[in-house]
């Protein structure tokens, strides 16, 4: 695995990578280099299995993090590729031509985070939501509790024990 990571470093001039125990390595790189890297990993290094694509919203840094996770089934190694894209310009290069299921992930991320993937098939179709208006729900600034209270007729809360004080009394009495 170390050799593979070195080769990646040489070819793609990556910013950093750390090694976690249990067969998981990380690569962080620029968004323009993503598709060449995926293609290289798939065809040359035999990372043939695409596991997941997911996004993380770092609102304080004004960035979205996209994670591409691949598996090599011969070495039993995973590699996670991390791409940061600016929040003001949520657009990413599509990779749907490499693996069939990426289009579905991109469709979901487009719906949930509002990150656009131009030219990805059916990317603008709604996937999980129907008739959603407003901010994409998975963005950090979307307050789901407030939305729920405004929309869905909450039933008034019953008076009961506060779990925090209860647990402190019963389970962790010696903690301050």
């Amino acid at each position: 695995m170390k050799e593979i990571l070195e080769r990646i470093n040489q070819q793609f001039n990556c910013s950093a990578h750390e090694h976690q125990p249990e067969n998981l390595s990380w690569v962080q790189l620029d968004k323009k280099q993503l598709v060449p890297l995926l293609s290289y990993l798939k065809h040359t290094e035999n990372f043939s299995h695409f596991v997941l694509l997911t996004a993380v919203d770092w609102i304080e840094n004004n960035e979205f993090q996209l994670n591409y996770l691949l598996t090599n089934h011969e070495l039993h190694q995973d590699i996670a590729i991390r791409v940061m894209i600016p929040r003001d310009e949520p657009e990413m290069i599509t990779a749907h031509h490499l693996w069939q299921q990426i289009a579905t992930y991109q469709r979901e991320i487009n719906e949930m985070y509002g990150i656009n993937f131009p030219n990805s098939p059916r990317v603008n179709e709604s996937f999980l939501l129907e008739g959603w208006e407003g901010i994409p729900p998975m963005r950090r600034e979307f307050d789901t509790k407030k939305y729920s209270e405004e929309t869905f007729f909450p039933r008034p809360r019953q008076e009961g024990k506060d779990p925090q004080t209860h647990m402190k009394q019963k389970l962790y009495p010696d903690e301050e």
């Binding site: 059916r122 729900p137 789901t144 509790k145 729920s148 039933r155």
Partner: protein, 232 residues
Amino acid sequence: MSEETKHNNQPENTEESNKFPKEHLQKRTVYSPDGEKIEIDPLQDYYLQDRPERRDPRYRVVEKFLNWARSESLWILGFGTGCGSIELPPLTTPRFDAFRFGIAMRPTPRQSNVFIISGYMSIKTLKRAIRSYEQMPDPKYVVALGSCTINGGMYFDSYNTINRLDKYMPVDVYIAGCMPRPEALIAGFNKLKQRIKEGRAEGANEYVQRFDEYKANQKQIIKDWNMPDYNW
């Protein structure tokens, strides 16, 4: 709020591309098999706006007998709307065997008279559930399963699940728990039977009576009423 405008400046044709061809949404005239002329405005149709007919019980003695028959023959619509539907199959299998009590599963809403809302309802499912509920023949009963139908339960703060089912359709019996065990389900059915025998389960007529209120609540959350002509 700048984010919101960002999201919305996607290509213009997004709305139409995924759902139906444009011509399906335009007003048109069709002829029924009997030659009757019907004006269709699909977008209006999808709201299911026609007020159903109110059908009150007429003769007390006959109705009492029929109510007994109805209570002893509960046909459940096999529509697993939420995770509660995982406890429905055990009902039809040897351990619990609800067939003993006249409970059976029917695949189409036309032939069933009990609608089990098995757990939380996402907005997308609620739309189909309302359609199915309105398709069921009168008299019909709703059994709401799990605490998520009572107050939202675990999903009280979710943006996609409703909190209170009784704002959208009349509910006869609630079965609390997450998830309710099959024994609780059978107990709930017994409660429903009792209610029917006493003649108090007139949910369909209540739906007609408070139709405007229910429709207003439904329209408030279901923004996209576009759906196929049938769904089972």
